[in-house]
């Protein structure tokens, strides 16, 4: 029982990070109908941005202070937003009217390009670097359960971001425009909506979330290197499909589910090596039995 709750806490914290990443995949899919495979690399860039920004900010604010951590997060989010906007502008926008397969393959190319450029010794190099401890660590004992302050931060930050994202998408004019563009780009442009601007905004928003997810992920696994985005990115991608690609609550739910399943699987001796296998089995299962995903609506293709 104790083991069950302990794993649940660990799983929730990990799932929250997957949820943040999955939201970026699903938002871009919602608007442009392709999977931005470079999304996981933005997470890595976020971790590195925070790594390099931290010493500078700690010169102004005390090390491990909350203000410092917030500022580091903000700068990282902005840098990643810019990076996401730039990727779309340079790589995807020129291909807007091409077949989706072209864009998909380009996305894989962008991802490989970023990963291997960053591995070059003139950029980040391929060796693992220690991620700074942004906040002091505490362990809390609740009964026999051990809760790490990092887990609480991860969950708290995720909840705040999910609420903020929900507000932006559902209640603001630009969010409504995002939903309009996602439904029908041409009709949206007939409303006077500058579709390119909305696409940029979507990439910026998703990439900012990925950047913050990069920090949170590095807080839990404090070694960063240029290929660090691949694993969480892949799982978040599965999460987005599991929840129903294009569906925001679905991505959040899918992330939590994958995080929890992975943690339980990892905690059972003999099963732990099959964590990814289990995640993919779930993906295949959902694609067979409920192709629209957990929360996705079945759409009828008109012929």
């Amino acid at each position: 029982m104790e083991w069950f709750f302990q794993q649940l806490i660990n799983g929730l914290a990990l799932g929250a990070i997957y949820a943040l990443i999955a939201l970026g995949y699903t938002m871009v899919y919602g608007v442009l109908r392709f999977i931005n495979f470079a999304h996981s690399d933005v997470l890595m860039l976020g971790a590195f941005a925070a790594y390099f920004v931290t010493p500078a900010i700690w010169k102004i604010f005390p090390a491990q202070s909350i203000t410092g951590a917030l500022l580091i997060t903000l700068v990282t989010a902005l840098l990643c937003a810019g990076m996401g906007i730039l990727i779309e502008l340079l790589a995807y926008r020129p291909l807007r009217k091409r077949p989706k397969l072209t864009v998909l393959i380009t996305a894989i190319g962008v991802s490989l390009f970023i990963e291997f450029t960053c591995q070059h010794k003139a950029v980040f190099g391929s060796k693992t670097r220690p991620f700074p401890q942004l906040l002091p660590m505490h362990d809390f004992h609740i009964g026999n359960l051990l809760v790490n302050s990092n887990d609480i931060v991860v969950l708290g930050v995720t909840v705040v971001l999910l609420v903020a994202l929900w507000f932006i998408v559902q209640k603001t004019k630009i969010g409504t425009a995002m939903r309009a563009v996602s439904f029908n780009m041409q009709a949206a442009s007939l409303m006077g909506i500058n579709v390119n601007r909305i696409v940029s905004f979507t990439f910026g928003l998703g990439s900012a979330l990925a950047g913050i997810a990069g920090i949170l992920y590095s807080m839990k696994a404090p070694g960063i290197e240029p290929l660090m985005g691949i694993q969480p990115g892949l799982r978040a991608f599965i999460a987005a499909v599991l929840g129903g690609i294009g569906n925001l609550p679905g991505a959040a739910l899918g992330g939590i589910v994958i995080g929890i399943v992975e943690t339980y699987a990892g905690g059972i001796a003999g099963v732990s090596n099959y964590r990814d296998g289990i995640a993919f089995a779930m993906l295949i299962g959902i694609l067979i039995f409920r192709p629209a995903g957990l929360l996705g609506k079945t759409t009828i293709e008109k012929v």
Binding site: A177, A180, F183, A188, S189, L190, M191, G192
Partner: protein
């Protein structure tokens, strides 16, 4: 108000419009009739910037808008109710109307516009919070027109407003189109397959056939024209 000169459009190797010219005068309802695939929808889509022409010119209020992107054309006061309505099915009625007013910032004016749209289509007011995709075809058409009016256009283009709508509602919608034109002074370019109705409410008409304008005249005369009668008015 709107003048098209020698407009040609092609989709890849297939050419859809072969140098058409037409004119819409301020305050009029002008109609463009013709069969399936004649190029009616392409004409409207080219005017609103969704399709780039191969050659020719589109002049709106003295400005050349031939290669202007759609969102800037809306800003110039030209609204397009597209074929098949294209309401945002995933948005509520209120959100759809808000998107129509996307470029406007004056909240009071938007509220006034909203009252005006609700006065034309009271049905929409009853369904403010409903998802647009769950409404009937006729209601969606009302929403599509209302949404276009929210941009406070000077010039309105309607693409097949009668398509897929219960006959009783078609009559209502055409009455509303006339009202929008007469009472509110909005110039209208109407594309229709239902030539009878279109010629009844319009002042001037063009007949489009396989990408060419084959006839043009005031609507009264077109209704008497033997060619139009046999081909489009059912005898």
């Amino acid at each position: 108000m709107l003048e098209i000169k020698n407009l040609s459009v092609s989709y890849g190797a297939i050419s859809a419009l072969h140098g058409i010219s037409l004119e819409v005068k301020k305050g009029d309802i002008v109609t463009l009739i013709g069969g399936n695939g004649a190029g009616k929808t392409t004409t409207l889509r080219t005017i609103s910037g969704l399709v780039r022409p191969r050659s020719g010119e589109i002049i709106y209020e003295g400005q050349n808008i031939t290669r202007t992107p759609p969102h800037k054309i809306v800003a110039a006061g030209l609204a397009h109710v597209p074929e098949g309505r294209m309401v945002f099915a995933n948005l509520t009625v209120a959100e759809n109307l808000a998107m129509g007013a996307y470029l406007r910032t004056d909240k009071e004016e938007i509220a006034r516009e909203l009252d005006y749209v609700y006065s034309i289509f009271p049905r929409l007011k009853e369904r403010i919070k409903q998802q647009a995709g769950t409404m009937s075809g006729g209601e969606q058409q009302m929403l599509a027109i209302g949404r276009a009016l929210m941009s406070k256009p000077k010039f309105l283009m309607l693409d097949e407003p009668s398509l897929g709508i219960a006959p009783l509602l078609v009559k209502t919608i055409f009455e509303k189109i006339v009202e929008i034109n007469r009472k509110h002074g909005i110039t209208i370019l109407l594309v229709e397959q239902n030539a009878n109705l279109a010629l009844e409410i319009s002042k001037y008409g063009y007949v489009l056939e396989t990408g060419k304008i084959i006839l043009q005249n005031d609507s009264k005369s077109l209704r008497q024209d033997p060619k139009v009668k046999s081909a489009y008015l059912g005898g």
